[in-house]
């Protein structure tokens, strides 16, 4: 079982949700986050100087799936979130030991 953590542009969320749905993945948790990448945010040039916007609003998605479905999820997220411009985001894959359904106590380890 893996946790896929994707950091995407907020305006791509709808597209990512629908590409995930098309691929059959419905469950997810999203969080509004702020962050920056290698470019250290965006700097805006003005005659009077520069405004640094070093933390940019992003959406973080968390999706837990069995190991063999990881590549499908990654493809779906890429399909929805890709614009080709700086700031499209990152996808991380993290191992999960176990998952427990609170309602009925069901334990999933694989």
């Amino acid at each position: 079982m893996k946790l896929i953590k994707a950091i995407i542009k907020p305006e791509r969320l709808d597209a990512v949700k629908s590409s995930l749905e098309e691929a059959g993945f419905l469950g997810m948790t999203i969080t509004e986050v702020q962050g920056r990448g290698e470019q250290k945010g965006i700097s805006l040039q003005y005659r009077g100087g520069t405004i640094e916007v070093d933390l940019i609003p992003k959406i973080e998605l968390e999706i837990v799936v069995s190991a063999e479905k990881v590549s499908d999820v990654i493809e779906a997220v890429k399909k929805g979130a890709h614009t080709g411009k700086i700031g499209d985001g990152r996808i991380f894959v993290i191992p999960i030991e176990e998952s427990v359904k609170i309602r009925n106590g069901e334990v999933i380890k694989e």
Partner: protein
Amino acid sequence: MTLDSGATAWILASTCLVMLMTPGIGLFYGGLVRRKNVISMVALAFLCYALVSLQWVLCGYSLAFGPDISGFIGGLDYFGLSGVGMDASDLPIPDILFAAFQLVFAGLTLAILTSGVAERIRLSSFVVFGLLWTTLVYDPLAHWAWGGGWAASLGALDFAGGTVVHISSGFGALAIALVIGKRMGFNESSMAPHNIPLTLLGAGLLWFGWFGFNAGSAIAAAGLASNALMVTNTAAAAGALTWLLASSIHGKPSAVGMVSGAIAGLVGITPAAGFVDVTSSIIIGAVAGLLCYLALLWRLRKGFDESLDAWAIHGVGGLWGAIATGIFACIGQTGLLSGNVYQFGINTLDALIAVGYAFIVTYVLALVIDKTIGLRVTEDEEYVGLDISQHGERANG
């Protein structure tokens, strides 16, 4: 005319009421945009008000209310409000109070138009645009209707600004929206309102201020003002309920829809407020709510990014109000229902000319500014939002 202290007191109060509508429209719009642009939206309203305040005392009042030149514009005799004094002349209130009362209308009108450039306008370009727009579009229209221009001479009725305020800003917003272009990601990603309570607060201030707008336009503290206040409130209520009902057919009865309907009703009754009775105001408000809602749906289907619907609510509502005044007028004037076909014709013609003038002049003006100094922010600036890129401020920490 001798100065009437009752009228003077009421117009002083009305001026303050109408002033509050400008931050009101700012908050109404501010709640509807994305969080990264809320300061920009509210600040634009204040900016409009400050700009027009200076323009008005320097030349705007004179262009609108100065001695008539060929029915089109006023002369510059009152430049810098020279000769506009503390005594009453044609009206029972001080001349300088009349100038102040008219100023708050002019400021509000420019603020309504900011709907069309929401979330993508460059602040410095808007300063230039706003000053030219109020001079070239608002001032002539105010002169035509109220300053002794051709529309008034031909008998067109506009009690509180259906053509002057609402048609001009509504169709102006549509024109500038077409020039500046759609917001990045329009129709692709969600642009849902970020703070609906803010929008409701703004709508409340508008409804409240509108009593000064319409009842103040009687320029008297007497029966006519009282009737105007009552029909204004009635039309707002009817508009709120019809839009609520219409929107609930498509989904849930929306709160934003309800207050949009109230504003539509208020816009619709504006030109008619001094000429119609309470039963007519129910019809005017109800039709305004429905018509403006349909205009909004049409705008969305067409994919026009006139972002916050000044066109649907103020433009279409103002057009309906002007025509409705020609139909329902029965107090001091007669309309179509009282057998006065001419009134209906001249009001409709006046409204259509105002639509054409406001749309074309705004379009050309916006185009010239766009080709010279550029109306729009850069992609990066739009992406991070106007609050940071234009003001260097964030709404929440």
